[in-house]
Amino acid sequence: MSTVAVQLEVRSSIKALAVGAVLSGLLVVLPFGIDPYQTILLSYGLVMAIAALGHNLLLGYTGLLSFGHSAFFGVGAYAVAFMVKYLHVQSMELFMMGALAASLITALLFGFVCVRYTRIFFSILTLALSQVLWSLAYKFYWVTGGSDGLRVPTPKLLGVSLPSGEDKINFLAHSYYYYVLVLFLACTFVMWVIVNSPFGKALQAIRDNETRARFVGIQIRRYRLVAFLVSGVFTGIAGALWVPLNGLTTPDILYWPFSGEIVFMSVLGGFHNFTGPITGAIVFNYLKTYAVGFTVYWQAFMGVILVVLVVALPQGIVGTAIQLTAWARKRFFR
């Protein structure tokens, strides 16, 4: 790499860090300005953003479209619910570790089968495998609660339990929001490091040209498997963070249309950009919440958005914004 290129890369990293710092600062002060309901909604968005970031490591960076990420999200969520029900654990940190281990094992099992395939076969296979877990969660009702799901009470954060008088909404809108925010920022940072590391570059090489990547000496299947594991674990973490927010986990989050929603988020934001899935997840969450409140036919509304998006704006929100600014810069500032 030439010095100019290095300088450019350093400069763009600094710029990205600066923008990231400003946005994080905004996220920190936001709960003071908006009402608790909005903060909780934002927490949902941030949690889904972690899942979408994980999903996009496969879709955007490795070129594999998973239609089975509900499996990892659900495993993370159910791991927490099982720990509450059978081990009487209350600590959120233990929940996170349990969910991490459970989603890692699931991703290892699924990944072993799935990374042999690419393209449409990979998508179908991830979808089919995720439905094994759905059918188990659905049928073994004496373990999983079946379609009623399992309830998860308010957890202890960093060993501190909720003061007995404190209202749950207040807890979710303040302590829990910051907990989610910290984990979201940490996950984003880790993912940023991963995609910019030599490993991340190798994944992109595999995505762009598998044959050449193999000639360069990249062990394609192993790299894909590691990407699959990281992706699954990120989504599992999101699942674990989601449960206390929702208070309940049901087989719906293991069902394949939920995987479709995760894919939707990546595409809505634009999966060719690092920040696309984050934007997509937050926007999707708002869109869905308001569409559900507005009409019973919210699903058709979201479907139309998806079709229009895929037909007219395949770059997603972030990609289109970048194109627009580039166009405007060329047009007005030369």
Binding site: L59, L65, F67, V113, R116, Y117, R119, I120, F121, S123, I124, L125, L127, A128, L129, Q131, V132, S135, L136, K139, F140, Y255, W256, P257, G260, V263, F264, V267, F271, V296, Y297, W298, Q299, A300, M302, G303, V304, I305, L306, V307, V310, V311, P314
Partner: protein, 292 residues
């Protein structure tokens, strides 16, 4: 002994239904290389249309007329297919698979709500035909006669499709397009017409599956999404794009599901996925698949 016969009939019943759904999915993939995630919704559409035609509008008509009206659902699904292919899906054949799956997923969401909009959230049944058909005695047990009709329909559909694809001129054109679209086009085949015809036939089969099943079980919301996953298992086992594979896959799934239900109902579905996973590990492209 008669219990075994009933189990076999049940397996065949399920297999016929699965073949109608998965066969359509596989045919569409074989010709156009597109996996239609909304395929299950066309099956559901067939069920709802037939349920309202047979169970409500013409509920008082003579039985013979009702039987003739069953395919109404299949015709409706075919019409929707014929409309969707040229207007929406055609522009996606040249784009990466991600976009194909996404656009059909969007379609799934729209069709799901369209059914809710037209028929409301309640189950819809047309059980008079099922009841009127009565049952046959098998040893000491009885079996619904209507189910035998469903089995027959599945097998007749498979036979017709086979004859259609391997014995007619249109079948030759269809196979040529499926094998090499450019060359077929260069030889004067109107590829776009073949596409819309193949898509319509695939949707017709899915709709027929829904139409034929509705007298024996109610049409409910979400049945399409459930059916699609089962159709995926069938095509994964049989090989995507192969009709023989879809038939064999449907039989395998039908048999194992029947065994699963009678032996260990909790893991009935999980067993099917397990079979699919094993087949994939042994033969990556499915039993009859063409690796791409």
């Amino acid at each position: 002994m008669d219990i075994l016969v009933i189990h076999v009939f049940n397996a065949l019943l399920y297999a016929s239904l699965l073949f109608l759904i998965a066969g359509g999915l596989s045919l569409i993939y074989g010709v156009m290389r597109i996996v239609n995630l909304a395929h299950g919704n066309l099956y559901a559409l067939g069920a709802f249309v037939t349920a309202s035609v047979v169970g409500q509008w013409f509920a008082g008509a003579p039985t013979v007329v009702l039987y003739l009206l069953i395919p109404a659902g299949a015709v409706a699904a075919a019409a929707v297919g014929a409309l969707l292919e040229p207007t929406l899906l055609r522009r996606f054949y040249r784009r990466p698979e991600e976009y194909q799956l996404l656009v059909t997923f969007g379609l799934l969401m729209i069709l799901e709500d369209l059914i809710r909009f037209i028929w409301g959230p309640y189950p819809l049944s047309a059980s008079t035909l099922f009841e009127k058909a009565g049952s046959v005695a098998i040893g000491d047990s009885i079996y619904p006669r209507y189910n035998l009709l469903v089995i027959a329909t599945g097998f007749i559909a498979a036979l017709f499709l086979w004859a259609f694809i391997y014995k007619t001129n249109f079948g030759v054109v269809l196979r040529a397009t499926s094998q090499d679209m450019r060359r077929a086009s260069a030889l004067g085949v109107n590829v776009n017409r073949v596409y819309v015809q193949a898509f319509t036939i695939g949707c017709f089969m899915a709709g027929l599956g829904g139409a034929i099943v509705v007298p024996s079980q109610s049409a409910v919301l979400g049945m399409g999404v459930d059916a699609l996953v089962l159709a995926f298992i069938v095509v994964v086992i049989g090989g995507l794009g192969s009709l023989e594979g879809a038939l064999l896959g449907a039989l395998i799934v039908g048999i194992f599901r029947e065994i699963g239900i009678s032996v260990f109902p909790e893991i009935e579905l999980a067993v099917l996925y397990l079979i699919a996973a094993i087949v994939l590990l042994v033969r990556p492209a499915g039993l009859f698949g063409r690796a791409t």
